[in-house]
């Protein structure tokens, strides 16, 4: 069985990339494929609570985060020293990795997709 890392690096509101990456993660999980997520750059905004997108901004992807566990998606990684992680007002269930662990992360999977 393949294990897959979905790397989100696009803003959740500037394009469909973030959403379509999450869609792929959910489909993989539905097919019982082990899948983890990692976020960098503008995609980290996905973790900020207090978002209030209207219909023109697209779907409220933050709401999807709490549902990941129902798909057995348990690991959501970010790089610890990225400068974008807030101390508060952020979805709490991510795992911060130090830089060496972050770099090592990408070689631990058979598939890595970037969105």
């Amino acid at each position: 069985m393949n294990n897959t890392l979905i790397h989100l690096s696009s803003s959740p509101f500037s394009s469909l990339s973030c959403k379509e990456g999450l869609d792929l993660a959910l489909v993989l999980a539905t097919f019982e494929q082990p899948v983890d997520l990692c976020l960098s750059g503008a995609a980290i905004a996905l973790l900020y609570s207090g978002q209030n997108p209207n219909q023109t901004d697209g779907k409220h992807l933050y709401k999807l985060l709490d549902g990941l566990t129902f798909y057995d998606i348990e690991n959501v990684y970010v790089e610890a020293n990225n400068g974008l992680i807030r101390e508060s007002d952020i979805w709490p269930n991510y795992q911060a990795l130090d830089t060496p662990s972050w770099h090592a992360l990408f070689s631990q999977y058979q598939h890595v997709f970037r969105f």
Binding site: N2, L24, V27, F31, Q110, H111, V112, R114, F115
Partner: protein, 149 residues
């Protein structure tokens, strides 16, 4: 931006000895990136080697625009869609477009056109609409999956 990104190295020794079976995942827009062009070049080069067996190409995100039959490049420009369709037909390689990504972007086949009560369909010949489950199947039946974004 790099034209493509090698993403998968799930090699199986037996498969490598016989032939390298792999699939392509193309996600970059045919208009904003060179992802579709690079994937096409890669596929042409790979097909020159009999030990390489591409078993399918899956287009996702903006790359599904490649399958829009209504887009017409200027006559003095490269017809990317036609090149893809001809190469795929010649080598019996299926070209899959993600159905959700396609319908969202106005690329519908006859079935979807009826489902949405539209008066026309726009899927180009040589392409087919499939769900992401087909991508999962490609991931599980090939030695490598290579993303172009």
């Amino acid at each position: 931006m790099r034209p493509f990104l090698l993403v998968n190295s799930a090699l199986t020794c037996n498969k490598v000895q016989d032939s390298m079976q792999y699939a392509l995942l193309v996600t970059g827009s045919p208009y904003q990136t060179k992802a579709c062009h690079s994937a096409l070049k890669f596929l042409k080069a790979a097909l020159l080697n009999p030990q390489h067996t591409p078993i399918g190409v899956f287009f996702y995100e903006e790359a599904v625009l490649i399958g829009n039959a209504l887009s017409q490049p200027p006559r003095d420009e490269f017809d990317l869609r036609k090149e893809w369709a001809e190469l795929a037909k010649a080598h019996h390689i299926p070209l899959y477009l993600c159905i959700a990504a396609s319908v969202r972007r106005g690329i519908v086949n006859e079935t979807e056109s009826k489902r949405y009560e539209l008066s026309q369909h726009s899927l180009a010949e040589g392409f087919q609409l499939e769900g992401l489950g087909t991508l999962v199947e490609l991931m599980n039946t090939t030695s490598k999956l290579i993303q172009f974004r």
